[in-house]
Symmetry: C2
Subunit: 561 residues, 2 copies
C-alpha cells in the first residue's frame, strides 16, 4: 500500500480494505498531484471547489464541483463538442468506443506534459484535457498528475457521478484503455462505511461528503442548537479516531519547538467555556444564486448553529511552549481528515487572535456539555469565535505557529470575497484576504417561505436569528412587511457579554404589523451590529463567484389567511 | 461671580468679561439645570441636540436646535397658536406686548414647578413652557431650572437667533418682564473673541461654535490631511489654555485614587505615534437628509481627516496609577470646554479598549508632527483610533475610570443609531448603544457632483477615500458608472498594518470605464472592510433621526465631455 494511501487513511479502522495493487498505488501517487488540496468541500463552514486556472478544471474533472462542471459542460455543448443526451452516461467510461483507438497504459503515461498533451483515464476511457491547461507559471504541479487514472479519487468523491461532469469528461474522450490496464477500485472498500448516524431532520446538501443543515424553522427554537440539529460541513469521510492514542502536535516553525499533547493532557488544562455561533462562509448561498449561479453547495439559511463549547484555551497551550504574540505570524490548524494525497484539511488565523486574552480561541472537546461528536470534530476541534466556520478546524491533528498563513486551498484559493464583476476568468485569489470575521447577517426562521399565516391584532408572529463576526453584538433587528416603508424593531434574546466577545448568536422575535387588507406580503429582516454595520439590501451588488458572505436582507413571502 | 461661571470659564483669558451682577449669576445657576448637558453640538465628530422628552423641548428653547424647533414650530402653527409672520422676530423678546401683563422677577421665579407652571424669561418676554413638560419621573432636574432667564445662554449659543426658534418661543409668550428686572448680557463680552484663525478653505457648517469641513475635492490629495484642512467640530468657544499651568486629572472612581499630570510629565512618558482617521458621527449627513430631514449639522463628506497623532499611551498612564483591565468598566473623558452650567463636554469608551495593548488609545499632543493646534485640542486630546470622533475628546481636562459610561448628553442621548421608523416621539435613547466603532464607508472626492469630465480610453479618473471603524482594514473599493451592472475595483493606498489596528483611512483611485455614448453618468462607490462588511445601497433603509452613521454608497453625477 502506498505511503499516500496509508497516510490518507491511517486513522480509519477500515484501512485494511484499501489495499491496492502496485499499479493502482502508482496511479494514485501520480494523480495525487492533480489535487493540490482541491477537492469538493471545506470544513463545517466551508465549501471547496474553486480554482482560477486549469487547476480548477482539472480538479473538477478529477475531483468534482458539479456547478462549475455544469457551466463548462454547457460551454462545451454550445461549441458543438459531443454531447450524448439520453444515453446512459454512467456507463460511458466503462464501455469501449468503437470510433476511437485503444491505448496501453504505458502510452498514456507518456502524455504528461503540455507539449505531449495531457491524458487521463477513467474506467476504460482515455481523455485529453490539455486544452484546459493555461500556459502559465505554477502549473507544474498539475503536470505531475498527467498520464494517470482518476478512478480512485472518484471512488471517494462520489459527487462526480452525475450527468454534467460525466458529459464534460466524455467530451474530452480520445480513446479506450486496454482492458488489461484498467484500474479497479472494487477492492478499496467503502471509505464511507464508518460515517456516523445523523438525525433524519438534517437535510443533506451533499451525502458524501456529508453536508447538511436542519430545517431553518427549527433553528430559532433553541438558543443553544441541539447537537443533533447542528449543521454539518464535512469534506471527507469522517475520520475514526481513538481517543486513547490520539495526540495533538503543536509546533513552532521558527524555533523548531514542538510538543505533543494527549487528550488527557489537554483536559487537564484550565477548562474554558465559550458560547459561539459557528457559521459556514456559504450560509444563505442559495439566495445569492438567484442573482446568478455561483460555485458551492446550495445552503439555505441553516448552515449555522449556536453552541456552548468547552475546552482548553489555545493561548494556554501556546504560552506553555513559549510562544509570544506577534502580529505578523499565524496559527495553522490541520485536521485528521486527509485527502487521498495525504494533504490534511487546513486553515489558519492570525496569531494575535490566538494569543489575545480576549480572543477566546479554544480547543474544544465538549459541545453543549457533551463530548463533541464525530461529525463535529471528535475528539478535538478548534473554536475560533467570531470567525468563519472554515477556520474552526475539526479532528485537529496539528497546530503550527508560522510566519505564513496556511498554504491550504481553503485559506489561499477559497473563502475570499470578490467584486460582483470578478469571474472565473479574471479572479486572482491573491488579491483578497482570507475571510476571518464574518459580516453581520440575519434570517427569518418562522414563518417559512410560502406559509399561510394568521394575524392577531393586525400582526403576525415572526422569529429568527442574527449574528455578526468579530464578537460584535447584535444591537438591533429591523423588520418590515411593507417593502421598507415602515420598520418594526424586534425583541432580542442574547447573552449579556461585552462587545468584542459577544460570539453567540441573537435570537429575535416580533409581532410584526402587516398592511391591512393585503393577502400576500414579503417580510424582510436586517440586523445591525455594535459597529452599526448592517446588511446589504440585496444580493445583486454583493454577488461573488463563490457565493460566500451572502448576507443581504432575508426576505420571506407569506400569505395572510 | 458665581462658582458656576468661574468654573465655566476658568480656563479662558476672557473670563474677566463675564462678570455678571448677582442677579444674573442667580439666574444662570438656576437655569443651569435645564441644560443637563443638552446644548447644540458635540466635539469633533459630534452634534448635540437630541432629547426624547421635555428636556429636548426645554433645551431647544433654552439652548437651541433649530431643526427640532422648526418641527415644533410647524406643529404649533398647525395648532393655531400665534405665528407672527413678516414681523421682526429678532425684536419680539425686546419689546413689551401690550396685550399681555407685566410681571416682576419675584413673581416669575415662583413658577418653578409643574403645578405652579414653568415660566422662563428672555429679554423682557415671559414664557410659559409647562405644556411641553411630560409628567414622568426624572424631570426633577428640569424643574430646578424653572423661573429664570435664558439670555446668558443665548449669548453663547448664537444659533438660537433664528426665526424658527424665536417663533416657537414667542408662541409660549404670556407676558412682559418688568424692565427693572431685565437681564443684560451686554457686559459679558464676546466668548468668541479668542477663537483661533482658520484657513479660509474650511467651509463652516456653523460659525459659532465653529464647525467646518474642507472641500472634499481636496481630501484625497493627501494621505495625511494637512492640519489646516482638517475638519473642525467644536461645540463651544475654543478654550484658551496655558500649557505651563495645564494639568490633567486622572481618577479612579472606585478606589478614589487620583493623580494630576502636567504636560511635561505626559511628554516624558514613552511617545507613541498612531495614524488614525477621525470621522464625525454625522459625516455625510447631508445625503441622508435627502431622504427625510434629520437633526444635525449638514455635513458633506468632508467631516473626516487622517493624521499621524503622537502622544502618551493612555494605557501607560492608567497602569501607572494601578488600573487593571476590566470589561465592565469605562473611561470617561472630560474636556476643558465647559458649558455655562460648568458641565464639560464628555464621552467615554470601554476600559478594555484603553487598556488593550493593541487598542492604541493615546493622549496626543502632536498632530502630523506639529504641536496640536487649538482647534484640534491644544494642549492634549485623546485619540481613540477606530472610534467615532465624538469620543476623541479635545482639550482634555479629566480622565475618570468608572463603573458607568459618561453621563454626558453626547454619550447617553446622542450619537446612537435607530430604526428608520423611530421618530422624536418614539425614540428611547436607553435602547441603543453609544456609537463607538464606526461602520464602513467611502466617498468619491474627485470628480465632484456636476463636474464635466473628460474620458481617456473610455475611462474617467476617479478618486476618494474609504474607512472603517474598529481598526478594520479596507480590503476593496468597488466603483460603478452604470448603475451597478458592472463594477470596477479601485487601486488602494493604505498603511501596511495588521487588521484590527488599521486605523488610518484608505485613499483609492481608478480609471473607471464609462458606458460608451452616455453624456450623463452617476458614479457609485462602495467599500468593503476586513470583516467583509460593506455599505448599504441607499439611505432609505438606514435613515435615522439624528442623521448619524450615514454610510450608504456614495453617488456623484457628472457630465461626460
Amino acid at each position: 500500500m502506498s505511503r499516500v494511501l496509508r497516510s490518507a487513511f491511517k486513522l480509519g479502522s477500515h484501512h485494511a480494505t484499501y489495499l491496492l495493487h502496485q499499479q493502482e498505488a502508482r496511479i494514485i501517487k501520480s494523480i495525487s498531484c492533480y489535487c493540490d488540496y482541491s477537492y469538493k468541500g471545506g470544513q463545517e463552514g466551508g465549501d471547496g471547489e474553486s480554482r482560477r486556472d486549469f487547476r480548477t478544471v482539472l480538479t473538477l474533472v478529477g475531483l468534482g464541483g458539479f456547478v462549475a462542471a455544469y457551466v463548462l459542460a454547457s460551454k462545451v455543448a454550445a461549441e458543438g463538442k459531443p454531447s450524448k443526451e439520453n444515453v446512459n452516461y454512467q456507463k460511458w467510461h466503462t464501455e469501449a468506443r468503437t470510433d476511437l483507438p485503444t491505448y496501453k497504459q504505458e502510452v498514456i503515461q507518456k502524455h504528461d506534459t503540455l507539449e505531449k498533451r495531457i491524458w487521463v483515464t477513467y474506467g476504460i476511457g482515455v481523455y485529453d484535457i490539455t486544452d484546459f491547461v493555461p500556459k502559465h507559471p505554477g502549473s507544474d504541479k498539475i503536470m505531475l498528475g498527467a498520464g494517470s487514472a482518476i478512478d480512485p479519487f472518484w471512488a471517494i468523491y462520489q459527487q462526480h457521478n452525475n450527468k454534467e461532469i460525466l458529459t464534460l469528461l466524455e467530451s474530452f474522450r480520445i480513446g479506450n484503455l486496454d482492458k488489461a490496464d484498467a484500474v479497479s477500485t472494487e477492492d478499496m472498500g467503502s471509505p464511507w462505511a464508518n460515517e456516523p448516524k445523523r438525525h433524519p431532520l438534517l437535510k443533506p446538501a451533499s451525502e458524501r461528503p456529508f453536508n447538511a443543515e436542519p430545517p431553518i424553522s427549527l433553528l430559532a427554537e433553541n438558543f443553544l442548537t441541539p447537537n443533533e440539529f447542528f449543521y454539518v460541513r464535512n469534506h471527507l469521510p469522517v475520520p475514526v479516531i481513538d481517543a486513547e492514542s490520539y495526540e495533538l502536535d503543536v509546533e513552532v516553525e521558527e524555533s523548531g519547538i514542538s510538543k505533543s499533547f494527549s487528550l488527557d493532557e489537554i483536559k487537564k488544562l484550565p477548562k474554558c467555556t465559550v458560547t459561539a455561533a459557528v457559521m459556514c462562509g456559504g450560509n444563505r448561498r442559495s439566495e445569492m444564486t438567484e442573482v446568478k449561479p455561483v460555485k458551492g453547495l446550495s445552503w439555505s439559511a441553516g448552515a449555522v448553529g449556536n453552541a456552548k463549547w468547552s475546552g482548553a484555551k489555545l493561548r494556554d497551550i501556546l504560552l506553555a511552549i513559549g510562544v509570544e504574540s506577534d502580529e505578523k505570524r499565524h496559527v495553522i490548524f490541520e485536521g485528521c481528515d486527509l485527502d487521498p494525497t495525504s494533504h490534511p484539511y487546513g486553515a489558519s488565523i492570525p496569531l494575535s487572535k490566538a494569543m489575545d486574552e480576549r480572543g477566546d480561541v479554544i480547543l474544544a472537546y465538549e459541545m453543549n456539555g457533551e463530548t463533541i461528536n464525530r461529525d463535529h470534530g471528535f475528539p478535538l476541534r478548534v473554536i475560533v469565535p467570531g470567525t468563519v466556520g472554515a477556520r474552526n478546524v475539526k479532528w485537529l491533528s496539528r497546530v503550527v505557529v508560522s510566519d505564513s498563513e496556511s498554504s491550504s486551498h481553503w485559506q489561499q484559493n477559497d473563502y475570499k470575497g470578490f467584486s460582483p464583476s470578478t469571474d472565473w476568468d479574471t479572479v486572482d485569489f491573491t488579491k483578497s484576504p482570507a475571510i476571518q470575521a464574518m459580516p453581520v447577517t440575519s434570517a427569518i426562521c418562522c414563518p417559512s417561505e410560502g406559509d399561510k399565516v394568521q394575524t392577531k391584532d393586525g400582526c403576525i408572529a415572526v422569529k429568527g436569528y442574527a449574528w455578526s463576526g468579530g464578537g460584535r453584538r447584535i444591537v438591533r433587528v429591523d423588520l418590515t412587511a411593507d417593502g421598507g416603508e415602515s420598520w418594526h424593531v424586534a425583541e432580542l434574546e442574547q447573552d449579556d457579554l461585552p462587545d468584542g466577545r459577544h460570539y453567540g448568536w441573537t435570537l429575535w422575535s416580533a409581532n410584526l404589523p402587516v398592511p391591512a387588507g393585503q393577502k400576500k406580503i414579503e417580510i424582510w429582516s436586517k440586523a445591525v451590529d455594535s459597529a452599526y454595520n448592517t446588511q446589504p439590501e440585496s444580493f445583486k451588488y454583493t454577488w461573488n463567484l463563490r457565493g460566500v458572505l451572502s448576507n443581504a436582507y432575508h426576505r420571506v413571502k407569506v400569505e395572510i389567511e
